[in-house]
Subunit: 151 residues, 2 copies
DNA sequence: GCATAAAATGGAATTGTTCCAGTTAACGAA
DNA sequence: TTCGTTAACTGGAACAATTCCATTTTATGC
């Protein structure tokens, strides 16, 4: 049975068709999950997708996340000390603010807009395509609590 | 036999004593290795230290690297998709240029000097302590070769 | 409806790192 | 200089996140 057997066409599904790739229920569910949980890690996405579809392999979710990243529908962000996060906001070149205590990640707009938004002082012969900026600090909730990592 | 049994006092040893921690041959060797191989990963450091001392446990090297990081004698840098690198250049807040193909990492001076060297456009209540900037691109050697990852 | 290639599955394997319980050794005190 | 304390090291197992692989399923074009 092909995926599209009658139900309404979702935004995720339209975006996948727009990318000219096969539309599977796993892909639709993963893309929806990323959009529902911005900056979530793979475990969160897997749990959400299983809640939606029932049995789905871990590998399928990883494959889909990679595919979506490559087709530009999600953006993989990997802050130090954390599993990769998946960001539904694509097409601009915004940056991130990450809490050292709880790991919360929020968007920070880029002042310049286009990548790379910064020029290295001396590029040493490198051709630079991107400036990845992560601001580290403490989120509002964690400023009151001690600086210990989240349990 | 205590570590310091007659040989000349190295810079690494002096720096460790300055940090008021026990001076062990493993710590001296790891700090020397990081200084000899800037931005090397743990495997490289482990190999170098074993060449220097003979049998040393993997765990000891990881422990030492953490300790050195905490005491501010080395800086741990973790670019996406690569094991952590260890940087002997500390005390300033420089940034890095990383090659997408071969992983080479070189220093980029920070224009402003002090951390955080950038202000997020809107901090959303976060207290920001650091702006980590990684410039991604292709190193001089890799610009000629194809964009495939190093094998 | 059928063929085909792309995608999903299940399970094992890898990588980088950490945990743990027991042993060793650095160093301050005697 | 020896001794006791405790930090540091060892070996080995465990772990988390991710990837590899062979097989099966399924979306899509004809
Ligand atoms: Mn984002
Ligand atoms: Mn550096
Ligand atoms: Zn927080
Ligand atoms: Zn390169």
């Amino acid at each position: 049975m092909p995926y599209h057997s009658g139900m309404t066409t979702s935004a995720a599904e339209r975006d996948l068709r727009g990318a000219a790739v096969r539309v599977t229920k796993q892909r639709v569910a993963v893309l929806d999950a990323v959009r529902r949980h911005p900056h979530a890690d793979a475990d969160t996405i897997i749990a959400d997708v299983r809640g939606e579809l029932g049995r789905v392999s871990t590998q399928a979710v990883y494959d889909v996340l990679h595919a979506l990243d490559e087709m530009g529908l999600v953006r993989r962000v990997a802050p130090a000390g954390s599993p990769a996060r998946y960001d539904p906001r694509v097409g601009d070149n915004h940056h991130h603010l990450v809490c050292r205590r709880c790991g919360r990640m929020v968007d920070v707009d880029c002042a310049t807009g286009a990548a790379p938004c910064l020029e290295p002082v001396a590029a040493q012969g490198f051709s630079v395509t991107e400036a990845e900026v992560i601001f580290w600090g403490y989120c509002p909730d964690c400023q009151s609590k001690g600086p210990a990592p989240a349990g």
